[in-house]
Amino acid sequence: MTETTLGQDVIYKTEALIAEDIDAYLEQHQHKTMLRFITCGSVDDGKSTLIGRLLYDSKMIFEDQLAALENDSKKVGTQGQEIDFALLVDGLAAEREQGITIDVAYRFFNTEKRKFIVADCPGHEQYTRNMVTGASTADLAVILIDARKGVLVQTRRHSYLCHLIGIRNIVLAVNKMDLVDYDQATFDAIVKDYGEFAKSIGIESFTAMPISGFKGDNITTRSANTPWYQGPTLVEHLETVEVLSSVDADKPFRMPVQWVNRPNLDFRGFSGLIATGSVKPGDEIRVLPSGKTSKVARVVTLDGDLDQAVAGQSVTLCLADEVDCSRGDVISLADNPPQAADQFEATLVWLNDEAMLPGRAYWLKLATQTVSVTVQQPKYVVNVNTMEHLAAKTLELNAIGVAEIATDKPLVFEPYTEGRTLGGFVLIDKMSNATVAAGMLNFSLRRAQNVHWQALDISREAHAALKQQQPKVLWFTGLSGSGKSTIANLVEKRLHAVGKHTFLLDGDNVRHGLNKDLGFTEADRIENIRRVGEVARLMTDAGLIVLTAFISPFRAEREMVRSLMAEGEFVEIFVDTPLEVAEARDVKGLYKKARSGQLKNFTGIDSPYEAPENPDFRVDTTQESPEDAAERIVNALLGWAPTI
């Protein structure tokens, strides 16, 4: 282990500086830059061992931790009597037992030139989401290959993901060279093999090096065991590659506004992290999406105003004019602004156990903008092992696919390849609040750029005023056979009788026309409700009181329709009939068919019904007759009697 001894020399040199001239050391440390990188590879490629080695060689392990490590190595280590560096890194108790890394762990070490943050990424297929997470903040990726095994399926997958996330610096670390007797031919063959694959997926260049994380070859010092290798050591390479923020500084100025700083009437500042470019007082800027222009008056910080601020800095900008600007807006260079659009093609990485539902509304968070979005059925998914494009109806956990998405408001964006900040986004489930997907905008769709709202002279208020009524959507939801249509029909008759302009949209009737192309899968049910919601909205624009009778089993879609309407316009009526009662009635004989298996995806039998949590009206049909329920609803609606 001569290499370790050499590595120790470097440490002693640093230590000597600390001991003899702490001020000089601090001065040096103060000017260090930072590089974030990820390590990825298959299970047992030696990632944790490599990171443990980097920490050990840069003296980031203290004596007590080392004692604990030696102790643990003997108890659960896989390296016999030698130190098992992987134990340093494998933090969580569960994985210590399983002997594999199951989540992203972040580690830190310093050299004389840089501070490093390492994301240790798992090799298991089911944890692709963790790898994508680790890669999203990385300047560089170290792809580990076991010299005995060569390029594996997982090597391809991880390389593809790193490339997808936009990592430009890729290091191919051919590890465990000690186990192949430091054989150059083995190394060369692997590099050639990987090179062909890399080229096929668009990786333009990579740096290959023969290493041993366990023995320490070519980590901090050149190894005497690989005289045929002339390139840099891993650490030398990490110390010199260009970091992402330097690349970002050369791009046009963009700053998403996080927060408006308004301590008093005399100060109004816009706080944010500069995504790309630089800014200085006097610069002409434009606020997106409004397009209003102004000049930068001040760049404010606690330590005094700045002459200039660059990509990666968090600042507060004061503008020369009173311009409307709030969280979600983007301040950019006046003559080179980003675009805004509401329909895109995007690449999605699905991160959740619950598969994507085409048509369902999710929250989309991009920079500081949060909007509602729906995702179309994917154009294709990528088989990450073969890079083939396959047809798919949805995206399952760890799937990567390309799909069109539509937002409810314009997004200020850039294609992901031009900027991570305005091109990368996450999707959030509206019910569980889980982060379900990561996405990258590829481009906006032309139709979004060319379809504009037509301003109409007769407003919805004018339509409603003529009819002397408040537009409403009375949304009846409940199991099949619960009595939705019966009650809705009675309500409409009563409203009609008192001169109200109404229209009843019935589930079965709509499926004969507008929605006859839809079936009863979850995705089709969602699309069914989306279309009905849009039709109902148009009818309320026309001033009508709309009644709908649909099972509408999912909370998310009912909420989506509610969000289409003006405040207070959507009235949710839960026709609460227990399954046994509805099934006993079985007016259309459907339950019988469902029970016998002739009818699939039947709500209440083999498809769920999510009952409303706070409906505006609840009708218990085992306690209240349809006539009484209808009367109660109409009275409350017209303000004739207090709501019960």
Binding site: E15, I18, A19, I22, D23, Y25, L26, H29, Q30, K32, T33, M34, F62, E63, D64, Q65, A68, D90, G91, L92, A93, A94, D103, A105, Y106, F108, R114, K115, N130, T133, S136, T137, S245, S246, W259, P263, F267, S271, L273, S278, V300, T301, D303, D307, Q308, V310, G312, Q313, S314, T316, R327, L366, A367, T368, T421, G424, I428, N433, T435, A438
Partner: protein, 307 residues
């Protein structure tokens, strides 16, 4: 400043990241709070908050979950910093722990459970905070290395390490249902050296106990401690420990009977940093908490709601 694009230093990048995180929380949470333990990490976190919102004062209160056993110097700095930053200071002491007279000598790890873990949960519930900033760092301990920056907690304050939200780019998901909350760690990516360096470069006020001075000390169970409140110490121990004046300082600050002192002559920040770098025992070693429950001490504590 040079005309060519500036490459930020590691401290500038860390500072900017922390400020960005704090602003996201303020923009998206309903009722945030900053947990303030008066240690050096809290000091840096508070300084970053003042930078993030300047010229406004940070738009959230400071919460000190007190055990009544902190060093007197800590209480003094706490009150001074709250006044200086223009922030509201909330001090919470678990009434049940006070009533039962829970103390570090008689009750061992129960002291931490009752005053800190339970105290924190009670305080968060009492004020209905939905986001709490904490000064934890990923380099402190193995299980911390895997925690997210926005760390989601169930309504009962539990942490599920297997079910953490993926955190991509610098996009943080602060959405939650009623009763649930998030712990936010803006200095996750800082190391102990970064903290010291930042304090040095920014003149961040810290408790003088971090610097060496002649102080009254006593030995207890083989470790050196400072006798910060001799009458109280005597009352709890039932005897007056032998007090020796020694030049000592502290690498980490907590309850004075639980925080081991180290003999030192480092009176300036560079000297403290020098000593820290040359020392061969890690920071948390002076604390008793991690060694409980075998190798997984902190992980178990966190699942129960300890910060």
């Amino acid at each position: 400043m040079a005309l060519d694009a500036k490459t930020l230093t590691h401290l500038e990048r860390l500072e900017s990241e922390a400020i960005h995180i704090m602003r996201e929380v303020v923009a998206e949470a309903t009722n945030p709070v900053m947990l303030y333990s008066v240690g050096k990490d809290s000091a840096v976190m508070l300084h970053l908050a003042r930078k993030a919102f300047y010229p406004s004062p940070p738009p959230f209160p400071l919460l000190h979950v007190d055990t009544t056993w902190k060093f007197q110097d800590m209480y003094a700095l706490r009150n001074k910093m709250a006044a200086e930053s223009g922030m509201e200071l909330l001090v919470y002491q678990n009434p049940e722990a006070a009533e039962k007279g829970i103390n570090p000598f008689d009750h061992g790890s129960l002291h931490t459970d009752m005053w800190k873990t339970e105290g924190l949960k009670q305080a968060l519930d009492k004020y209905g905070f939905d986001a709490a900033f904490g000064g934890a760092r990923r380099d402190e301990e193995k299980s911390r290395a895997k925690e997210r920056i926005f760390s989601f907690r169930t309504a009962s304050h539990g942490w599920d390490p297997k079910n953490q939200r993926p955190e991509l780019w610098n996009l943080y998901n602060a959405r939650k249902n009623k009763g649930e909350s998030i712990r936010v760690f803006p200095i996750s990516n800082w190391t102990e050296l970064d903290i010291w360096q930042y304090i040095h470069l920014n003149d961040v006020p810290i408790v003088p106990l971090y610097f060496a001075d002649e102080r009254p000390t006593y030995e207890w169970e083989g470790q050196l401690f400072m006798a910060d409140d001799i009458p109280r110490l005597e009352k709890v121990l039932g005897y007056r420990p032998e007090i020796t004046m020694k030049s000592v300082r502290f690498r980490t600050l907590g309850c004075f009977p639980l925080t081991g002192a180290v003999e030192s002559t480092a009176k300036t920040l560079p000297e403290v940093i020098q000593e820290t770098l040359l020392t061969t025992t890690s920071e948390r070693q002076g604390r008793v908490i991690d060694k409980d429950a075998g190798g997984a001490g902190m992980e178990v504590k966190k699942q129960q709601g300890y910060f």
